[in-house]
Structure formats: C-alpha cells, structure tokens
C-alpha cells in the first residue's frame, strides 16, 4: 500500500502540510478544537530537529514564533477563537515588522468561551480586523483534507513571499473530520524558501527598504547584519520614526503589498458557474454541503453552481463581481450571521439578489438546510 495515503483528521492534514512546507518551530497553547495540531507537532518536530514549545498562553505563543522567525525559522502556531483574540496584539506586530508566520485558527462558536466543541465560522471578521489600526491581512481556508494540506503549504508560501502573517481559518468540522489525504512527494507542491539578502558583510543592509519588485530580502538574527525590529513606525533601518512621510509610506506599503496582489493571492474553486442562474458562494466545511446541493440539483435540471472561496482576505471583490454578474440570485452559505455575505453584497452590482443560508447554533449546516432556505428564497415554501 502507498504509505503516502492516510486516513486523518483535518488537523493532521494541516500538520502534514506545515511539515511539507518546512516548518521548523511551533509554539502554542492547548485549546479545543485545535489541540491535535500541537500534540502532533510535539511528536513530529523534534524527530526532524525542529522545535516545539508549549507556552504560558496564546500571547506568548504568538510572540515566540515571531522571535523564532527572525532567526530564519519557518514558524506556526495554532489556536481557536479565544486564543486567537489573545494573539491579536502580536499579530499586529508581525504585520508592522513584516515577519513571516502562520497562524491556524480552527474555529469554534463564540463570542467568549462560546461552544468549544462545535463548529462555527464566526472569526472571519476577527481575522480581518481583530488587530488595531489600518492593515492588510491574508486569511485562507479549505473544505477537504487534500486542500487543507495544500492551503497550509500555500500559507507558508504567501507568508514568505510577502513577509506577512497568514491566517489559516479552518473550522471544527474540518479539524476533526477524518478523510483521505495523499501526502505529495517532495517537489510535487511548490514550497517558497525565504528570500535572504545578498548584501555582504560590512555593507550597510537596509532591512526595510523594499526592492524594485516590492519584496524585502531578510537577514537572520545572529547573522552578519545587525538591525532593529520594532512595532513602531520605522525607517529603512528599522529605527522608530514619527516623520509623517515615513509613517504614510510605511502604512501604504503594508496595505499595498497585499491589496495590489489580490489576483496572485486569490485561490478559489468553481463548479458549474458558466450557465448558473443560482450561485452558491461558500468556504470551509460549509462548502461541502453547498457542493452536495449543487451535485444533487444539477442532474435534476437546475442551473446551479458553486463558487468555493479559499482566499477570504484580501477579499476577491472583482472575482465575485465577475462570477455573479449573470446570476439571477446568489446565496452565501456560511456558519455565522453573514460575515462574507456583507463583502459579497459590496462586490456585486445588485446587492438585493444576494441571500444568506446559514446556521449559528453550533450544528453543521446540511444540504437539506441549504435547500430549505433556497425554497424560501424561490417562494416555494418549506
């Protein structure tokens, strides 16, 4: 039997993806439903000389991975809603100081301690705006374990390419469900290495002076270039500055480097969209039920399609606008009170044709739930 074929939890698929991407360092704190990621990495990382540490809280976990990333390590932490709230301060630091790192949030119900063992997709907006101040963020997700693997690798690639934290926004169903995963061979999925500076020892290295292509080559802490890293607005040496031009230019750079590359960053899957009169838009585990509805109704003559979003932030507004132009109506399927719905309404020309099919009770949304809501929208009654 091919030993690369595994029957695993989504959390394990995430671990496999992280290790494939070259994870060196993990710091975390136990929290349901993400704990399996920490447990598995405490076994797997030292087997290949990597480092695992259980910190005193999620604040410290996030800080520790930032510190480790600066030494050249590929780093990750994993948590769920309450822990993700605690990480927001240091997440903002990673954005400001441009430190590559990956944060997994296996979502459960909130607010507060909420419903720890049940599914939700309620952290979509926390991922976007959880940390203070204007900023850009990358948050990506997946609906099956093969995609969890690849999305996790992609998270590392984006974090290295753009020197930014990347949030993997999975959910409890994805995290705990078991299904097949085929772990690719080395090289089958591209893995981005850190871009290191070519500036030689003794030559002035500017850690925050972007190259012409906008990228910022790094120099490892402990190497030959000594520089300052701070969460304050800073100049090209990384030294604090309140010069209005420096402040303006840095904030623009932090936002533009992501938003100018929406098309490169955006990943999605489409099913039967070409002639679809009804389009379902979904993501994460909810997209499984949405796909089931489409697969059921298509052979029965309904012109229905699915747009499965894998990139949630930066939000692909033009993609949504283009795909939904011909649709008679669009239904956003998600397990929250309409967090992506609002973005979709902003993106399209006719927001009144956008509807929501959701559940917010900790129960996984089923194909029947979606079809019942569709009947209501179509005026057919339940």
């Amino acid at each position: 039997m091919n030993e690369n074929i595994k029957f695993v939890q989504g959390n394990e698929a995430c671990v496999e993806g992280a290790l494939f991407a070259g994870l060196d360092f993990f710091a975390g704190y136990p929290i349901t439903p993400s704990t399996e990621i920490a447990e598995l990495l405490s076994i797997r990382l030292p087997q290949r000389g990597g480092k695992f540490i259980q910190m005193e809280d999620e604040i410290a976990s996030m800080c520790a991975i930032i510190g480790a990333s600066l030494t050249g390590s590929k780093v990750m932490t994993a948590t769920s809603g309450p822990g993700f709230s605690l990480m927001q301060e240091a997440l903002g630091y990673a954005i400001m100081a441009e430190i590559p790192c990956v944060i997994v949030n296996v979502q459960r119900g909130g607010p507060s301690t909420g419903i720890p063992t049940r599914v939700s997709q309620g952290d979509v907006n926390q991922a976007r705006w959880g940390t203070h101040g204007d900023h850009a963020i990358v948050a990506i997700t997946a609906s099956n374990h093969q995609d969890v693997f690849e999305t996790t690798v992609e998270a590392f690639n984006i974090s290295e390419t753009y020197r930014t934290p990347v949030i993997l926004l999975y959910d409890e169903v994805i995290g705990h469900m078991r299904e097949r995963l085929i772990v690719p061979k080395e090289g089958e999925v591209p893995s981005v290495k850190r871009l290191k500076t070519s500036v030689r020892e003794g030559v002035d290295y500017h850690p925050y002076l972007p190259r012409e292509d906008g990228r910022l080559p790094m120099s490892d802490f402990g190497g030959v270039h000594r520089y300052n890293v701070t969460g304050l607005f800073h100049d090209m040496w990384g030294f604090p500055s309140d010069n209005p031009k420096v402040v303006h230019d840095l904030l623009r750079h932090l936002v533009d480097k992501i938003h100018n590359n929406v098309n490169q960053i955006t990943k999605y899957k489409s099913y039967y969209l070409d002639d679809a009169e009804c389009i379902l838009i979904s993501y994460g585990s909810a997209a499984r039920s949405a796909l089931h509805v489409v697969d059921y109704l298509r052979p029965r003559g309904e012109k229905i399609g699915l747009l499965e979003l894998q990139t949630l932030w930066p939000f692909p507004h033009s993609l949504i606008s283009e795909k939904c132009r011909k649709a008679k109506y669009v239904i956003v399927v998600e397990m929250n009170m309409g967090q992506i719905l609002k973005e979709v309404r902003i993106a399209v020309e006719e927001p009144e044709k956008i509807f929501l099919a959701n559940r917010i009770d900790g129960v996984f949304i089923t194909p029947m739930d979606i079809r019942n809501i569709m009947r209501l929208i179509q005026g057919k009654g339940v």
Partner: protein, 267 residues
C-alpha cells in the same frame, strides 16, 4: 572592544531625561560585554515597551523592540530557535512585572538561558508617572494622587520563587558591582535575573519629593546594603544588594536537545 563600538551613534541622542538612571545601566551593561570580549553578532537584545525598552535601539546588536510586557516571550522564541545566541532582555518594572508578570515567572520556571534585566524606577515614566507594581504603599503617582495603597512585589523574591537560577540586585549608584553582576549573569547558563534600582527624577522623584537625580542615587547608597551585612541585621528596612541565587540547573534548550535525540531514536 571599546564601549563606543557597541553603540549605534546614528540613533543618538537618546530619549531619556537628564538624570535618568537608564543610561548608567546601559553603560554598565556595555562594560560587562566589553570585559567578556563579546562580539556584536552573537548578541540579541529583546526589549518591551517603556523608557527602559528604548535601550535596544541604541546598541549595535541584533535588536528586537517588541510589545509591552512580552519581551521574554519573544526572547524565548529567538533563544530556542538559535540557542547559540546570547539573549539580553532589559525591561522596566511595569513591563516585566505588571503586564509581563506571567511571562517573567514562566521564563524563570523554564530556566531558559537568557539575561533578564529589570530596570526598576518604581514608576511608569513614558506615560507620565503612574504607579507600578514595584512602587509600593505610600508612593505618590499620577494615578495615586492620594498615595498608593498597592503592596509591591519584591522582584528578587519573586524570581527566586519562580525558579530563576541566578538572581541579583544592585543600583545605579553601585556601577562596578552592577557591571560585575552583568558579567556573571551573562556567563550563567540558565535564566538570570538582575534587578537594578534606577532613578526617575522626572516623575518618581518629583512626585515623591525625592530630590535631584544625585539625591536619589545617594539614597540608593544609604538605603541598600550588601547581602547578609551587619547593618541589615540592625536595620531590616535596608534593601540588600548582591547575588541571591547562583545555582546550576539543567538549562531548557539543552534539555530540548535531549528531546530531539530521543525523538530521532524513536523514543
């Protein structure tokens, strides 16, 4: 190496008030590094937020100026990832023991090899003179206008109880002792905590009628005494200076190396 070579003169003048004790701490620390002949590339300084934490901008090491209270958590990530580097973690009293108190005790408990320096001026200087967990009862501050009712921590006792394997205290008056302590703390393999009483004439001094910077330093001379001295027995209110704990205990990164060995062998 001359002390000047450890500084980033490009980033001077510094932002500390005249009379501030933090520059004296910086001086003593750099002297200790020079005495040890340490090269700049092997030193990482991680600091938090506050007057004291700006120290990292002025030194020509790998410097990480982080967020309030979290310096030790960042430093833990750097150290565990690259154990061969020497970590210096200067913090203020509010930084280390109010918002950062949890990270302080857990870094000490792990016995991870780094040098934590608590620059204790008993006040939040950068925000304008609020009381800290080291101010103590009866102290006046901008948030204690009728005098402070909070009891203070004893930093040394706290570090000892949390498991720090090197614990020392000195003051900005006792610069030679301070330099010697830093040398020993840096050479110590494990979590080293050095508390330095450092005057803030601008806020603590003015609010509490403690006089000029020189007066405040004089008071460090008068109100402190070497550990176990005769005068301590005669006057228990005196603050002891010196090395309280210095013991060899397996260090965290070394212990993790053994975990790697075990894991690679398949347990």
């Amino acid at each position: 190496m001359a002390i000047k070579d450890y500084l980033r003169e490009r980033f001077f003048p510094h932002l500390w008030c005249s009379g501030c004790g933090h520059g004296i701490v910086l001086n003593s620390l750099l002297r200790a590094l020079a005495d040890l002949g340490m090269s700049k590339n092997e030193i990482v300084m991680v600091s938090g937020i506050g007057c004291s934490s700006r120290i990292s901008g002025y030194v020509d090491f790998h410097t990480l100026h982080t967020i309030h209270g979290r310096a030790l958590a960042f430093a833990t990530g750097v150290k565990l990832s690259r154990p061969e580097l020497n970590l210096l973690v200067p913090m203020g009293d509010g930084d280390a023991l109010a918002i950062g108190g949890n990270h302080f005790i857990h870094a000490a408990r792990r016995n991870i090899d780094l040098t934590a320096i608590v620059m204790n001026n008993r006040i939040y200087g950068m925000t304008g003179g609020q009381y800290s967990p080291l101010s103590g009862q009866g102290i006046m501050a901008t948030t204690a206008p009728y005098s402070n009712i909070d009891y203070d921590f004893d930093t040394v006792e706290l570090a000892k109880a949390a498991g720090a394997t090197f614990v020392a205290r000195s003051t900005t008056y006792h610069t030679q002792q301070m330099t010697k302590m830093f040398r020993q703390a840096i050479l110590h393999e494990g979590f080293a905590m050095v508390e330095i009483l450092s005057q803030c004439p601008t806020y603590f001094g003015r609010k509490n009628r403690a006089g000029s910077a020189i007066d405040m330093m004089e008071s460090y001379k008068e109100n402190t005494t070497p550990i176990g001295s005769k005068s301590k027995m005669e006057n228990p209110d005196l603050i002891e200076r010196g090395i309280f704990v210095q013991k060899e205990v397996p260090e965290y990164c070394n212990e993790y190396d053994k975990i790697i060995e075990k894991a690679m062998k398949g347990r």
